[in-house]
């Protein structure tokens, strides 16, 4: 076997540190995705003539093109437009916008689950649209979709390595740097995989906990 435990322990701290970068990028990206996704879903729901169609087209575009090329495009476009972002911020924005397209579909399914009567009742007691959304619809639409949203959170962990293309040194990038220095690929690459397994298992667990905390009365728990 060509597995060296001493070497593994030696690179472990470096890898653990890098996993924090992965964690950071994912959490910030997911926060952005959750907010933007909700905005896209609400715009779609309101059926504002031109705006809704544009948003739908935008979402379709984001979903059908690879994130890597979006990342490159943003990373090289923005400086031309005079905006100079740190690589990390650029990466988080692209990650967030990319997954907001997926989240908007999840929110849409959440909205569909809310009974029409709720909208009509809110209208009957003269609530404004924003109040209806805030007080009536969202509290009912969000809890059932915690799990699918969480799935995207877990998926995002596994998508963050793409950020190494724009010089963000996260788990896989670190593994590659270590491997290129020492010409030992087995341990760093396998460790990176194990770290991802641990991170996604933790994220999945967190999702389930949040889901059971926020479940509506009578909602089926998994």
């Amino acid at each position: 076997m060509i597995w060296d435990w001493g070497y593994t322990l030696e690179i472990l701290p470096q890898m653990a540190e890098a996993s924090l970068v992965t964690l950071q990028a994912t959490v910030m990206g997911f926060a952005l995705a959750a907010v933007l996704g909700l905005i896209w879903a609400i715009i779609n729901l309101m059926e504002i003539p031109v705006v809704s169609f544009t948003v739908r087209l935008f979402v379709e575009f984001i979903r059908t093109t690879p994130m890597l090329i979006q990342l490159f495009a943003m990373y090289y476009f923005l400086p031309l437009a005079g905006v100079i972002l740190p690589a990390m911020l650029c990466g988080v924005v692209v990650l967030g916008v990319h997954y907001s397209a997926y989240c908007s579909e999840v929110y849409r399914s959440g909205f569909l689950q809310v009974d029409r009567g709720q909208w009509e009742a809110a209208k009957a007691i003269n609530l404004s649209t924003s109040l209806t959304l805030k007080r009536i619809i969202l509290p009912q639409a969000i809890p059932p979709i915690i799990l699918p949203l969480g799935n995207y959170f877990v998926t995002m962990f596994k998508e963050t390595p793409v950020l190494l293309a724009i010089t963000i040194i996260e788990l896989v990038a670190t593994a590659r740097i270590i491997a290129n220095d020492t010409y030992r690929y087995t341990e760093p690459m396998t460790l990176a995989g194990i770290f991802f397994l641990i991170l996604s298992l933790m994220a999945a667990k967190l999702t389930r906990v949040v889901n059971s905390k926020m479940a509506l009365p009578g909602q089926q728990e998994f």
Partner: protein
Amino acid sequence: MSIRALVSILCVTILTGTFYFLQSPFADSGAVFLEAAVTTLKLVIVSAVFAIIIAFTAGIGRLSPWLPVRWACVGYIEIFRGTSALVQLFWLFYVLPLFGPRVEPFTAGVMAVALNIGAYAAIVVEASIRAVPKGQYEAAIALNLSSFNRMRRIVLPQAIRIMIPPFGNLAIQLFKLTALVSFIGISDLTFTAYQLNQTTYLTVQVFSIVLFMYFAIGICITIAMKFLEQRYSRGIRLGSAT
């Protein structure tokens, strides 16, 4: 979106894309982009075929009566769903040769994409087979069909109809995943875009053209899958009790 809306978006994309391309400085060097697109398409098709084979093997394997087979399939699915696709790609490309065979970049790329998507698709296959009503199995047993024929003639045709919508999403995922192979130096669309950007500094043009191409291919895949979905669900509403 409906098929008709998608087709009109596709037409607009192709028209705008072609127009944009013709007035860009790359109008004379279309072959570079075309070659890259062909590489991407090759990757998509080859890995899709393998992904489907893997998905059916692992998905049906998870329903096997033999425990070791079930464990092997669960192990494969969990490992490939739990780790990042890029880790798998690097592992196959850098680590696998240490154990034996030299792996060509294209092979490593196809293997990584197919194994990754195959794991997700295996779950879909398993769930769809489970979703076929129990009565169908019982009827097939009553008719004295062998377990192979039961699967082939009775269960799978019904399960495939259930699989197609999630497979449509996975097809797009697979298509997007192929962009990652640029990391191991396969000159697909992404790699070509990156290199052209480095050599010509025509950032906006290069990435816009490639994004147009990706979007057009992606929409084609979406339309194809929607079309399949429609074909397979034909006649289902008529008097089916399931």
